[in-house]
Each structure stands twice: as C-alpha cells, then as structure tokens.
C-alpha cells in the first residue's frame, strides 16, 4: 500500500518536474501555482506513504529506498517552508527534479528490510536517520540556492535588458535562502553524525575510520563546516560559495552511494 501512495506522490511531483524545466525559459504565474498545488498534494500522498511504512512496525527507514523517500519528503518540506517565507517557487527549479528523482527511485519496487544487528539502539538509530536526512535536505536546498545565485548574478552582470524580467527572486533573497538553509542544516548534520557514531560505537565497540562511509561522511561534514565558516567569517557568496556547495553536494552523494560499499553501514543484505 505504502508504495501505491508513493507512486501517487510521484505523479504529482512529475508536474513539479515539468515546471522546473519550463521555468528555466519562461515565467507563468498560473503554472507556478499549479506546480505548487501539485507539490502540496504530492506531499500529502507522500506523508500517508511514510506513515503506513511506520505503522508496519519495522525499523522502517533501514532500507535505501525508504531513506530516499524520506529525504525527498524532507526536501519538499524545506521548499514549502521557504515558499511560505519568501513567496517564491524558484528553488523548485532545483528541488523538484531532486525530489522527483529520489521518489522515483524509491517508488520502483519493494526492498527487503534488513534485520538490524543493533536493534537494541533503535531510539538512537531513528534519531540518527532523521537528523542526517534533515541535514541532507537543507544541503540540497542551499546547493539549489547557490546555483540560482550564480544564474542571477550572471544575468545582472550581463546587463541584458531581459535580466529585468527574470523569474528569479532578488540576489539577496536567494542568498538569504541559501545561507539560512546552510545554518539550519549544519547542526542537524553534526548531531546526526554524532548519534551515528554512538550507534556504531555501541554496536562495534570502536569506529573504523578506514571505512569509506565514515571517511566520506567526515569529508562532507568538513566541507559543510568550511562553507558555514567562510560565509560567517568573510561573507563568501557567489562563485566561491557555489563551488563549495557543489563540492559538499557531490560529497553527500558519494557518501550516500558509499552505503553500497561500506561494510558497517548497509541497509540491505
């Protein structure tokens, strides 16, 4: 059942995906409103799907697909929060495709849920998963914002008259969206890594720093920290911030992919 709801959600997000492509070339108030409603409806289905998963009683997120589904949902939540503050759907240009992709992968088929070796740390594990994913979602958004910042900056620098009627919000608004997501995401990411370490420590008795998952996670966290620091200390934005954000985003994807190689951090057998 949960998969069915997820597929409904996917259908709604598809409209958002189309919006993302159309919005790059032209603006339409009507279409952005349609996309917004479709996305909200998608979130409802998505939420139902997640609740059903939860009610099945397993340690539910312990499957790659379920994790992706949760991450998609959290990213969408962030997008909606930003919409309610800034009244702009432009971050959707980045967020919608990412969410669609995550949901699509998650909705393909059922995955066997791994019997957890450390089921006794269930509370810590749930905390770890939620914290980390919130951090990921914030990262997705600040990555999106830094790309939009670059586009808007180019348009303003190019002095093309059409830059006056661009669909993007003002440069400083994009910057604020990115910075706030960054600031919000960092503590989540940090706490997520700490809870993860606690789970690992109690399960294995030590942390294996040569494991690719752990190495990459630490790398991602380090980039994240550099981003927050340079921004806070010297107001890095624009190109330099975008390079860092891209780096952090790639690190996040690689860290996620490491689930397939890691010996200690795996979902499915």
């Amino acid at each position: 059942m949960s998969l069915l709801w997820l597929r409904f959600a996917l259908g709604c997000y598809f409209i958002g995906l189309i919006y993302a492509f159309v919005a790059l070339t032209r603006t339409s108030d009507l279409f952005s409103r349609i996309a917004l409603h479709a996305a909200s409806l998608g979130m409802v289905f998505h939420f139902v799907s997640l609740v059903e998963l939860f009610l099945t009683g397993h340690v539910l997120w312990a499957s790659v697909h379920n994790g992706e589904s949760l991450l998609g949902f959290l990213s969408m939540t962030f997008f909606m929060v930003i919409y309610s503050i800034y009244q702009t759907t432009s971050p959707g240009v980045v967020v919608f495709p990412v969410v669609f992709f995550l949901t699509f992968v998650a909705a393909v088929d059922e995955q066997p849920v791994l019997q957890m070796a450390f089921i006794q740390h269930k509370g810590w594990l749930v905390a770890h998963i939620i914290l980390i994913f919130t951090g990921y979602a914030a990262l997705v958004l600040s990555f999106g914002a830094s790309l939009l910042y670059l586009i808007q900056e180019r348009r303003l620098k190019a002095k093309k008259p059409s830059s006056l009627i661009s669909f993007l919000p003002a440069l400083e608004v994009i910057d604020q969206i990115g910075y706030r997501s960054l600031l919000l995401g960092f503590p989540f990411m940090t706490l997520g890594l700490i809870t993860g370490s606690i789970v690992a420590m109690s399960a294995y008795g030590h942390i294996d720093f040569t494991d690719p998952k752990i190495l990459l996670s630490l790398l991602m966290w380090a980039v994240y920290m550099i981003m927050v620091f340079t921004r806070w200390n010297s107001g890095w934005r624009g190109r330099r911030a975008a390079v860092l954000a891209t780096f952090a985003f790639v690190a996040a994807i690689v860290a996620w992919a490491a689930n397939y190689f890691s010996t200690i951090h795996r979902f499915a057998a």
Partner: protein
C-alpha cells in the same frame, strides 16, 4: 462640440519657454477664472506640469482667441511664443486630451504621473466653476479612456525613466530597498533624481560627497543626509549599498583595488554602482569583481530603450483605443445635441393633444371614466405613431455628421423653440446652427 485647445509641451517648446509659461499651483484657480471670463470662452481649464502647459476650453463659436489670452496672461509678445504653440480644435482637441491623459503624449510614454496632474487641474477648474457641462464630459471620458488604456495595454506596465530603471535594478539585487544606504558622489540633477526615487522606495539614509563641499552639504540637507568630504570618499563608501556616481573626473575614480577594499570591509555583501558620469567613474576592471554590479549610462539607456521597444507596440494599441473613443465621444455629444430637439418636439405635440382634448370635452359634456381612458389612449397612440419616425431619424442622424441639418429641418417644420437647458446640454439655437461647420 466647440472644444479648443492651445499649449506647449516638451516636444514643441524648449525648457526656457515652458518655464516662462508654467503656472504655480497657487495661481491656478485665478488663471482658470480669468480664462473662463475671457471673451468667447464658455468653459476653460489649465493644465500646467513641468513638461506641458495646456489651455483647454469650450467656446461660444469655436473660434476664441486663445493665443491672445496667452499673450495677455503671460505678458509675452507673439513672436516670443507663437512658434512653440500647437492648437487643436474639436475632434483633434478631444484626441489630444485623451492622449495626454493616457500618457501617450508624455516624455516617458506610459508614466502614471500625468493622469494625476490632469485630474488635479480638472478639480481646480471645477472648484472655481470654470469647468461645467462640456469640459466635464470631456474630462470624465478622458479619465475613463486613460483607465482603459492602462488596463487593456501594457503601456504603463513598468516605468522607464533611467531613475526608475535604476530602482528596478536595485530591487533585482537587494530585493527590498528598506534600510539600504545610498551614496551620491558628485552632486547633479540626475543623481539627485535617482536618489529621490531610491529614497521613495525605502532607502534608509544618504551620503553625499562632492568636490565642492558646500554643494555636498546643500544636497545632503535636502535628503536629511550626511555630507562627506571628498577625501574621505574611499573610507566611507563601503557603508553604502547603492552608489550613484556622476563626477566630472577625467579618469575612473573607482578602480579595482577600491572595489576589493570595499568588498572585504563589507564581508562581500554586494554593491550596486549607478555610474551616470561620462567618462565613466567606475573602471571596467572593478565592475568585473564578484559582488560589484556597475551599470553605466549606456547600460541604463539600453534597459530603458528595450522597455520603449516593447512599449511601441503597446502604444499603437493604445492609439487605436483612443481613435475609437474619440469617435464614440463625438457620437455621444451629437446625440446630446438632438436631445433638446426631441424633447421640444414631444412637448409641442403634447400641447396640441391637450388642447384638442379640451376642445372635444367642451362639446361632449361629462365623460364616463371609461371614455376618458379610451380618448387618452387613442390620442396618445396617434401622437406616438406619428413621432416614432422623426425621433428615430433624429437619433440615427445624431451619430452621423448630418445631425445639424436634420435638427435644423425638424425645427423649421415644427417651428420649435428649445427650453433653457443650456447648463447641461448644448443649446442649439438657429443662429448657431447657421454658423457651425
């Protein structure tokens, strides 16, 4: 329709002439009274803005000496003034007023200010009683037309002057201008205008630096701002988010190293330079820095003209609307022209009917109520049937140019006199009919 209009605008007259004709607001009511009392003028009003002075009148015979009025009022000799004047009559005057109100005749086509100014001029003229029936109709229609043009075309969608383009760009960078600081480098008319626009959109405070410190103080006082010594320019400039620069310096005064310095002090918060100086004050090298957005006069002009190109199409659309409206207005006025004739025709026949009924009553003695009703219905029916065709013909004729001829014929046939409705409806007496067209 005996509208007559005379005036100067930014296209017909240089600023020196317009300055001499400009009428301060406080003197406008007196001027209107004087105009309405001028020989041959029934109603009059005066529009005076920085780009135009127009005298709009409704006259007794369509040939009042408006030039004479201007010469008398401004104490100008004909040779000083006449070359700059334009004059419109009747339909052309109506079209001109519609175009002015719809902002098609403005220096910046589509700017919204002019409509407000015309409305004020109209209110002033009305208040002193110089503007009644005819001008009333003309201007209420003109305001409706202006509204139509605004809603049905994109002529007024965004304003295009350099100052407002600068504001638009600033908003693209900063979102809101609330709390942003403005720095004027080099006091000049244009930078002052741009600053005024920016302040009107919420900018918080203003700094002014000028080679002559006194002028900086003078300008700063106008905006409640702060004058800065020119030597301190580089030390204070980073406090500003928006810099309007227009010095007469032969070389760029803002170079790359200055930009880097500003950005590092501002923790890379972006800065917007509006460079209206020729030669430019901001070096192209500095403009390349991330976080520095510099628009020179050509960039701004380009942004303005791209708006204008879009707008030309819209202006054509607006002109078409106005052409249609002028026709409609003319037709409506003609209809009003025939209304008194129709009324007096009805009155005339009603008088005959009543007289005949009274005569019959005398002969037939007391009538039963049923008989009274029957006679009433019979006579009314005959009159209505007889009148139907003439009235329809009058109404149809009103929409065409032959109205006056038809009106004339009907009046002669029935020997009609029009009752005093001169205040609200044009009196079409026989004498006038002869002189018109």
């Amino acid at each position: 329709m005996r509208f007559q209009l005379i005036g100067v605008n930014h296209k017909s007259a240089p600023l020196e002439v317009r300055e001499r004709l400009a009428i301060p607001e406080s003197r406008l009511p007196d001027t209107c009274r004087e105009l309405a009392a001028y020989p041959g003028i029934e109603e009059g009003m005066v529009i005076s803005t920085c780009n135009r002075v127009e005298v709009v009148t409704h006259t007794v015979n369509g040939a009042a000496d408006l030039r004479g009025f201007l010469h008398d009022h401004f104490h100008l000799k004909p040779e000083e003034l006449d070359a700059h004047l334009y004059e419109f009559r009747e339909k052309d005057a109506v079209r001109h007023i519609f175009r002015v109100a719809a902002s098609l005749d403005s220096m910046v086509v589509g700017e919204a200010q002019i409509l407000g100014q015309v409305k004020e001029a109209y209110a002033t003229a009305r208040a002193v009683g110089a503007c009644r029936g005819q001008l009333d109709q003309l201007f209420s229609r003109a305001f409706a037309v202006a509204k139509r043009v605004r809603t049905e075309t994109a002529v007024g969608s965004s304003s295009v002057s350099i100052a407002s383009v600068a504001v638009e760009l600033a908003k693209k960078i900063f979102g809101t201008l609330q709390g942003k600081n403005v720095f004027i480098v080099g006091a000049g008319k244009m930078s002052e205008l741009a600053a005024r626009h920016l302040m009107a959109h919420g900018c918080a405070s203003i700094f002014v630096a000028n080679r002559t410190y006194d002028r900086a103080i003078g300008l700063a006082q106008k905006f409640n701002g702060q004058a800065i010594k020119f030597e301190d320019l580089y030390n204070t400039c980073d406090k500003a988010d928006i810099v309007i620069t227009s010095t007469g310096a032969p070389h760029a005064i803002f170079r790359r190293e200055h930009g880097e310095q500003f950005l590092s002090r501002r923790k890379n918060r972006p800065m917007f330079f509006i460079d209206i100086a020729v030669p430019r004050d901001v070096s192209p090298e500095m403009a390349k820095l991330d976080g520095i957005f510099a628009y020179d006069i050509d960039d701004l002009q380009q942004a303005v003209s791209s708006h204008v190109a879009d707008r030309r199409k819209e202006a054509e659309l607006a002109e078409a609307i106005i052409a249609g409206e002028v026709e409609r207005f003319e037709a409506r006025l003609h209809t009003l022209d025939v209304v008194p004739t129709i009324v007096s025709l009805q009155d005339h026949l009603e008088t005959i009917r009543q007289a005949e009924i009274d005569r019959v009553r005398g002969r037939m003695g007391q009538l039963t109520p049923e008989q009274e009703i029957a006679i009433e219905a019979l006579t009314r029916g005959i009159i209505n049937k007889v009148m139907h065709t003439p009235i329809t013909t009058l109404k149809t004729a009103a929409r065409e140019s032959e109205a006056t001829t038809v009106v004339d014929v009907v009046r002669r046939l029935f020997n009609l006199q029009v009752k005093g409705k001169e205040d609200t409806v044009p009196a079409t007496t026989k004498d006038e009919l002869g002189t018109r067209h």
